[in-house]
């Protein structure tokens, strides 16, 4: 899933963008209070072309399942249609969800909103608290706990 072949932007030309956008928004819609972004705000085409090129053909096959009016339907109706698709091809749907989440949770805006550091973990890293070890004094008073 890394070191994938990268595709040129034209590879995305025949992907119906409105359908894709609606599908992304159905899988990860914005939060009701508006703080969390919808997946349709991600640059999914760039993600797919550079990181998941082998999924492009599957994506095109998935989008064929959704009619012309799909992008204009209210969220609840889109959810019902996507659910029907999920039940008809669980494996393909699994792969789709993985790709949508992968793109979504790599986004630095999203990462900041969920309290994760933007960018790769290395070399910035994290700081964690040492933690309270004081009760180990009581643990020690239990005496030798091993057998020979």
């Amino acid at each position: 899933m890394d070191n994938q072949e990268k595709l040129p932007p034209e590879a995305f030309d025949d992907v119906p963008r409105r359908h894709l956008s609606a599908l992304l928004d159905t899988i990860v819609p914005a939060s009701e209070d508006g703080t969390m972004l919808s997946a349709q705000e991600m640059d999914f085409p760039s993600y797919l072309l550079s990181q998941a090129a082998d999924f492009l053909a599957d994506l095109k096959r998935i989008l064929v399942h959704f009619d012309d009016d799909f992008p204009d339907l209210p969220l609840a109706e889109r959810v019902a249609l996507v659910q029907t698709f999920a039940e008809s091809d669980a494996q393909m749907f699994n792969a789709l969800v993985f790709r949508v989440y992968d793109c979504y949770y790599q986004d630095d805006r999203v990462r900041t909103l969920i309290g994760a550091r933007p960018g790769p973990p290395f070399p910035g890293g994290h700081v964690i608290i040492p933690g309270d070890l004081s009760s180990l004094e009581t643990v020690k008073t239990r005496g030798k706990g091993y057998r020979r």
Binding site: M1, P29, F98, Y101, Q106, G131, Y146, R147
Partner: protein
């Protein structure tokens, strides 16, 4: 195919450059013998480890997966796990599985070496904790191990580095242990809490099991190997051994292997040391058939491949109200409890388990996708609310159980499946014993208790973790009786006096802790025994 033999003979040939192969290579350097290690994988490039990239999490589902069947690199071999509820996990490259291990680094306990004497089950080891004691310390120093001395569950021991921070996760669950009056202790880890020997300290990145870009995790490619190579050991990568060959006297005389271009080569050697782990070693021995050894090399006991032990693992997942920073800090165990480690006659099982508090792979993608698979975090409306409840709020307690040896649990050669060089793949046949089942049930119930005591608001359980074949033990066991064991008390084959085994295959019983510290201490111990006996190494 023609076999080429264009390499000079060597004194010692080690197969496998993982935890044990590295330790024994380093140990034997002072002999000034010509030592060669053949490794099927490559050297790793830390700057290519996933944590250098924005898409680090997705890489853990692909090229850096811990399951070789999913990873499927050229350097991997397939493993047939269909007859096992636990999948074998490993890594094949310089450093072996230490490239992906979580580096939790406990030693076996003194009682683990005497289970027959103390508890009337399985067999005693032919050596004791005290025999290995100096080697544990030597290994800790070379690897770089952090921990806190004074744990009453062990004889006194020193550790080269202070403990890693236990973080909020450790602190909260420790309070649960305290409320129940149970033992707990910060975990020993082969991860640097301070700069050490030219390596920098842990940056709390989290995904240790896809390689440590910081070099803080002690994998043997950055600990033993540089020292061994400086001292003259040759390490040849992309060399996959097919079989160990024998001469007319029934002594090992070398190996046949495939090089990077798939050429079949012969390497002559005076001594052969197997270090391919508890699955890789029996695989090659079983594949080394000859008129003297029709059932596989060193297999007159019929025990090569048998008595496979894992550590069956049950998981209790607690979801907490407060944010616990679970995506920060090493993913392995931060604290543990040995409350239920030793046999208690009031329980319905013998031996015991340790409870490890672990962050696990806790990044956002892993949280969201795992939640999708278990149905806990929906896609669509409601996704964010559930995600927020779980991300950074979920803690795992693992009950890691001792598994007793049984001959029916075994590694054999798959009749059909082969690797890319055509070498038969290992087939795993394994079932959970009644004792392990009861132990797991006990561990899961205690895990739930401690999570509740720690304040978890929601609890989930995984009765038996399938992706838990981390520890591969027992398939060429040690012992004094050649009819009941494959190697003697210092790793030498009973049947082939110049063949040694130093990996987890030689464990007689598995203990209830992660094994690598003990595997490496054993390799160092065997190295010293080889040196002591050098003048009459092959005598009866």
């Amino acid at each position: 195919m023609n076999t080429s033999s264009n390499h000079d003979p060597v004194d010692v040939l080690i197969i496998g450059a993982g935890a044990s192969g590295a330790a024994i290579a380093w140990n034997l350097t002072e002999t000034r013998m010509r030592i060669l290690c053949l490794e099927q994988g490559d050297w790793m490039t830390p700057s290519k480890y996933p944590t250098n990239s924005q898409n680090w999490e997705a890489q853990q589902f692909g090229a850096y997966h811990i399951d070789p069947n999913v990873r499927g690199l050229e350097t991997d071999y397939p493993i047939n796990n269909q007859d096992s509820p636990i999948d074998v996990l490993n890594f094949n490259g310089v450093g072996g599985s230490t490239i992906v291990y979580a580096a939790h680094f406990p030693r076996l306990h003194p009682s683990d070496f005497k289970v027959k004497t103390l508890d009337g089950v399985a067999d005693d080891w032919p050596i004791s904790y005290d025999d290995l004691d100096p080697y544990f310390l030597q290994n800790d120093r070379i690897m770089g191990v952090s921990g806190l001395a004074g744990d009453p569950m062990y004889p006194p021991k020193d550790l080269p580095l202070p403990p890693l921070p236990i973080g909020m996760v450790g602190e909260v669950v420790a309070k649960g242990f305290d409320r129940l009056g149970w033992h707990w202790w910060p975990s020993d880890a082969a991860i640097l809490s301070q700069p050490y020997e030219g390596r920098d300290k842990c940056l709390n990145l989290n995904p240790c099991s896809s390689g440590c870009a910081q070099g803080a995790k002690s994998s043997t490619d950055i600990t033993y190997w540089p020292q061994a190579i400086r001292s003259g050991v040759e390490l040849r990568t992309r060399c996959r051994v097919r079989e160990v060959t024998v001469n007319e006297h029934g002594m090992a005389d070398g190996v046949i292997y495939y090089d990077a271009d798939g050429h079949e080569c012969f390497q002559k050697a005076e001594v052969v040391i197997m270090a391919c782990n508890g699955v890789g070693t029996p695989r090659i021995l079983l594949n080394s058939k000859s008129p003297q050894f029709p059932d596989g090399l060193a297999n007159r006991s019929g025990l090569v491949g048998k008595n496979l032990m894992f550590h069956p693992v049950g998981v209790v997942r607690g979801i907490f109200e407060e944010r616990l920073d679970t995506h920060k800090g090493p993913q392995g165990s931060c604290i543990l409890s040995k409350e239920f480690y030793e046999t208690d006659p009031d329980r319905d099982f013998v031996r015991g388990y340790n409870m490890q508090v672990a962050r696990g792979a806790a990044g956002p993608l892993a949280t969201a996708f795992q939640g999708f698979r278990t149905g806990d975090i929906p896609w669509g409306p409601g996704h964010h609310e559930k995600f927020h409840q779980r991300f950074d709020h979920t803690v795992n307690v693992l009950a890691l159980c001792e598994d007793l040896p049984e001959e029916c649990n075994r590694v054999t050669l798959d009749p059909d499946l082969v690797d890319s060089d055509g070498i038969p793949a290992p087939k795993i046949t394994y079932r959970l014993s009644e004792n392990s089942r009861k132990m797991l049930a006990h561990g899961l119930a205690r895990g739930e208790e401690v999570m509740r005591a720690a304040g978890a608001k929601e609890i989930q359980k995984v009765d038996l973790l399938r992706s838990a074949g981390w520890h591969l033990l027992g398939t060429a066991r040690m012992g004094n009786d050649p009819t009941r064991s494959v190697v003697n008390s210092w790793g030498r084959s009973h049947d082939v006096k110049n063949l040694f085994i130093v990996d987890g295959s030689i464990f007689v019983t598995g203990g209830g802790v992660n094994p690598t510290s003990t595997i490496q201490a054993l390799a160092l111990y065997i190295g010293d025994k080889i040196k002591e006996n050098l003048a009459n190494l092959f005598d009866d």
